[in-house]
Symmetry: C2
Subunit: 402 residues, 2 copies
């Protein structure tokens, strides 16, 4: 694994937060780091150069979406995802599990009921008459594309093969993402399947020189399962450890509990830890505090496209580097009439392209008129804000202030 | 008018095409030139720097849309449209007439009939019960915003005042844009009103140091009216002459006739001539040939967002500079399955950012998935293509080959 390494540089004296450096063939990532979601091989509304400009360290691409379109063969033919999409940053792909199992839930919901008990009964019975799109077995998941009806069979081996063709720097082993509300029995089965799939994934992943593999901790909402899963997954020779299935409908409290149970078991493990699909502002603080190294989330980019923009609430800042108290961060809705004639920049402290060049009034106008430039400028701002936030957190850890 | 000048540098020996230089406070424009439409103060999907990169010489902003949102007062407060939108290029604003009269037609259509005869009868009768949105008098046009119902009264003076607040380099006098299918009587009335409004517009436009005013030739589909209008408008001391109302539903043949009638009268007039709202590829060739200096059109940008991309059809080109035969230009639809695995760039001859970096397969994927980056990359390509086309046409005129 000479192209890959993760090294913990420093552990905070005040929390479990740690500073690290994650080396990949496409560059080094200073951790804790935010991983920007570019689901379909593009961070929505941004060109590759914009990612460089906002300081993006790593991109998250979804294997499920990429298999469906454009297809992994054309990406391989183009020389891999970096060349195909002209992205310079290291890329991590997920296993496809999250989407495949969401599809199962979706086809169920489309069956016409939202009742939790019936839903659980259904998901456990695998009733084909209600869920024609998805069939789950120990071997893998068979499903039809909701777009064009093509049939796919996701297995641990297929997932790895797809991720190899995509050519990401970091891969994730195929896992069964337990749905919110699943029973103990269901979560236990799913966890055990995930563990078997983890071993199959490791076996299928041979080109260790080129791509590093993460195992995924599952276990639903149950403490003993989460701990068992963390213990098992961390006992395997993965390059990194991921925590999955914690953003499928939980309350913040539940989500944090689940992550904590796993992190308590992983403890002093020196491998990098990725938290899958989590990253609202408050989550960032808590995740970093308990030792998460990287995390991906659609929130900053999705919120940007909804006109929700981050800013620091305080007006007079002495040392920008250490602005990192969550109570000082506010999310404004640029669509509000209040900004119609506001010639200030979004955030007084911000040095991003958007803040350096455009006023709230112009952004308000662009959003009101649904102009594409609005989504672009907002996304640049939110991602720049996030990178600065993580930079601040790293500084704080460096100085034992976090 | 020291900040403004237009000079004809050369007249073609083979046609009425001419080379010129149009000087404005925001820079010089080499003519013939394409004017990129940025209706609401943004060229859809592009940031200001992208306009620099594709070589845009001038931007067209619509006064009607700008009055409605963000409003001209906030633009004035921000220091003018260039500062508000961070656009460096010279900007021309239209009078608002086209949209206001489109609104009249729309409210009629919303009244529930598409029958041409009834439509004409209606538009001539100004029946308020069918068209509550718009009221046309000799003084101006009163209407309600179709968005929020606010009442506006567009007059020649209001139009100029709005354009002054916007702070465009070039303004257009308020005109009545005749609808397609209008009778001789209606077109004559509209033309006469336009002429009266032209004089009022000239009077209202005082700050000649800062903004240059164009008068608009109208006259509908009637040769004698077009000629009369061209004669009258060109007799007034406008900075430039515009031809309007030729893209409201005509066939290409009708449109060209109308432009030719006017251009034959304008003849050797040395002022710059702008053709309003025309600019498909074939139109460009014909318009330049009869002496049009500048023209604006949404087609290259709108088509880009539909995945329709320009390319040269010929594969082996010896001298790129002189590729300007219309038969060699093709418009491809990137959505077609044919491009799904095509790793070529859109146009082999093209040096635009999109062609230098991305394949047809990636663009196909982005368009299929409705990813915002697709619209951005396609717009860059089409505008770069248009600028190169105009550059080629200027070279041909320079060398008496057009």
């Amino acid at each position: 694994m000479k192209n890959f390494s993760f090294k913990v540089l420093k552990k905070s004296k005040k929390s479990k937060a740690r500073l690290g450096i994650l080396k990949t063939p496409h560059g080094e990532i200073k951790t804790p780091a935010f991983v920007v979601v570019g689901t379909k091989g593009t961070v929505k509304s941004l060109a590759p150069e914009d990612l460089d400009e906002v300081g993006t360290q790593m991109i998250f691409v979804n294997t499920y979406h990429t298999v469906l379109s454009p297809g992994v063969d054309i990406i391989e033919k183009a020389g891999g995802i970096h060349k195909f999409c002209r992205i310079k940053q290291p890329i991590i792909t997920d296993s496809g599990g999250f989407q495949v199992f969401s599809l199962a839930r979706r086809s169920f919901n489309e069956g016409g009921t939202g009742d939790l008990k019936r839903r659980v009964r259904f998901l456990q019975s695998e009733d084909k008459s209600i869920a024609p799109l998805v069939k789950i077995t120990d071997d893998g998941v068979e499903f039809r594309s909701p777009v064009d009806g093509r049939k796919f069979f996701f297995t641990p081996e297929f997932s790895i093969e797809a991720q190899k063709k995509i050519g990401s720097d970091l891969m994730v082993a195929f896992d069964e993402c337990t749905y919110y509300g699943a029973s103990y029995k269901y979560a236990k089965n799913a966890m055990e399947r995930t563990h078997k799939w983890a071993i199959r994934g490791l076996k299928a992943s041979e080109i260790k020189e080129k791509q590093g593999l993460y195992g995924v901790v599952q276990g639903g909402m149950f403490e003993d399962l989460r701990k068992e899963s963390a213990k098992f997954i961390s006992s395997l020779p993965f390059f990194g450890l991921a925590i999955g299935g914690v953003s499928v409908g939980e309350t913040k409290k539940e989500m944090r509990e689940q992550v904590s149970w796993a992190m308590n078991v992983i403890g002093e493990d020196e491998r990098s830890r990725h938290l899958l699909g989590v990253g609202e502002i408050d989550d960032v603080f808590d995740a970093v505090k308990i030792g998460i190294d990287t995390m991906d989330c659609v929130i900053p980019t999705r919120h940007a496209r909804m006109g929700k923009l981050y800013k620091y609430e305080i007006s007079n800042i002495k040392n920008q580097k250490y602005i990192s108290k969550i109570k000082n961060i506010e999310e404004i809705n640029i669509m509000k009439n209040l900004y119609k004639e506001d010639l200030n920049q979004i955030d007084k402290c911000c040095q991003c392209y958007t803040c350096c060049n455009f006023t709230r009034a112009y952004l308000h106008h662009l959003f009101k008129q649904r102009e594409l430039l609005g989504y672009h400028l907002a996304t640049i701002h939110n991602l720049f804000f996030f990178e600065r936030l993580f930079e601040n957190l790293r500084s704080l850890i460096e100085n034992d202030q976090f």
